[in-house]
């Protein structure tokens, strides 16, 4: 009679998606932030399109990291505030499964949405269409890694008052390899040379984080829940 792990995983992901789409404006906010930040740079630098293209990978990736951070503290905070996180932790399912399901659902809603929106931003920054594929793949890997680093940070800062400032302070230093390899891959794609090297490094950081972060995020949750 007890519910299997896969069944519980699907149920929690569905729960998160239903909850997210009940408040669509909260989904759009990080994306709009992503668009705004990327339009600030050209305004601030007032460069011609060709020069803009040189800095576009850095701008795109920095904006992507910052807007992903925005949506991260909603990962556990709303459930912790209304007590449902306790109910989830007592549901008989392992806490790791709950964390994995919630983080994957969060990535689908924030990271994947960001990747879908990124071509608009890319054209605004003068990135050629040929580079879109590599850029979007690298962004997908990058936002997934950041969702996992963010899950650890969010788990640690649940009950704190100004939690999301601290969340950024904790997560961003750990996300520097992401930014380096991601921006390098996009830059290589733009200049036409092969981005394979950077993509492999980015993928390895992503795999490394996705395997260890669930343990750390579960431990983080256990610390703040206890």
């Amino acid at each position: 009679m007890t519910v299997g792990a896969w069944e519980a995983f699907v149920l929690i992901v569905r729960r998160e998606l239903v909850l997210s789409f009940r408040r669509p404006e909260q989904l759009l906010q990080p994306l709009v932030f992503f668009l705004i930040v990327t339009t600030l740079f050209p305004l601030g630098l007032s460069l011609q399109l060709s020069l803009l293209r040189d800095i576009s990978p850095g701008v795109l990736w920095t904006a992507a990291l910052l807007s992903s951070l925005l949506s991260l503290d909603a990962l556990f905070k709303s459930d912790a505030d209304d007590g449902t996180l306790e109910q989830l932790s007592l549901s008989g399912q392992s806490l790791t499964l709950i964390v994995v399901a919630k983080t994957c659902a969060h990535w689908l809603v924030s990271g994947a949405a960001l990747v879908v929106v990124s071509p608009i931003v890319a054209t605004a920054l003068g990135i050629p269409v040929a580079a879109f594929a590599t850029m979007m793949l690298s962004l997908a890997l990058g936002t997934l890694t950041l969702s996992w680093l963010g899950a650890i940070g969010a788990g640690l800062t649940i009950g704190l008052r100004r939690g999301n400032v601290l969340l950024s302070l904790i997560v961003l230093p750990l996300a520097t390899p992401l930014l380096i390899f991601g921006a390098a891959a996009t830059e290589r794609a733009i200049s036409g040379s092969s981005a394979v090297g950077a993509m492999y490094f980015l993928a390895s950081v992503c795999v490394f984080t996705c395997t260890l972060a669930p343990l750390a995020a579960t431990a983080a949750l256990r610390i703040t829940l206890e």
């Binding site: 239903v18 909850l19 209304d82 449902t84 306790e86 932790s89 007592l90 399912q93």
Partner: protein, 209 residues
Amino acid sequence: MNSAADGLCVEKVHVWRGERHVLKGLSLKVGPRELLHISGPNGTGKTTLLRVASGLLRPEQGTVTWMGRPISSSSSQYQAAMAYSSHEPALKSDLTALENLRFAVGLKRRVTLQELRTVLDCTGVGPIADLPTRVLSAGQRRRVALARVLAMRATLWLLDEPYSNLDASGTELMSGLLQAHVEGGGMALVVAHHALALDCNVHRLELNS
């Protein structure tokens, strides 16, 4: 008296809240067909004790065992057999009552929507099962939380102030369900201020500061 092996047993737990020594070596035991009513003035650690019993809070010293085995090592069996309802009704305000139950109970056992509707009917919130819980009154939310505990079909109930916000019929419903649960072989640990009008096997644990 039945032995400690077939119920919940809490032995000499100590808990500090920062500087305050909230629980000083407290012990309790609940067996089948028993209800333990924990009462006492505010701030004497009633909720802390319930959270320790549920496994949410790990005590600095002392042990909590279920069916003779410590709950820290057998948490999945323990969680499958118990239902915890905190002081807050713990419902997602954006989800409807039915969805709340579906996602909460669905993690513990396969349950059909029809079965959930009947449970919600039986606790008097059937007609509003499809409204988001934010529009419900506190009493109605308490009834939805009660329906969740019922739908879990757990042998052990851990209820924190289950009577709060309930009107006269709600209180009567609550007492009836508790009575039926305990007489049907279940166990319950209930934190409540006022006396429980139950005539089943009720033990009382008075916490004083």
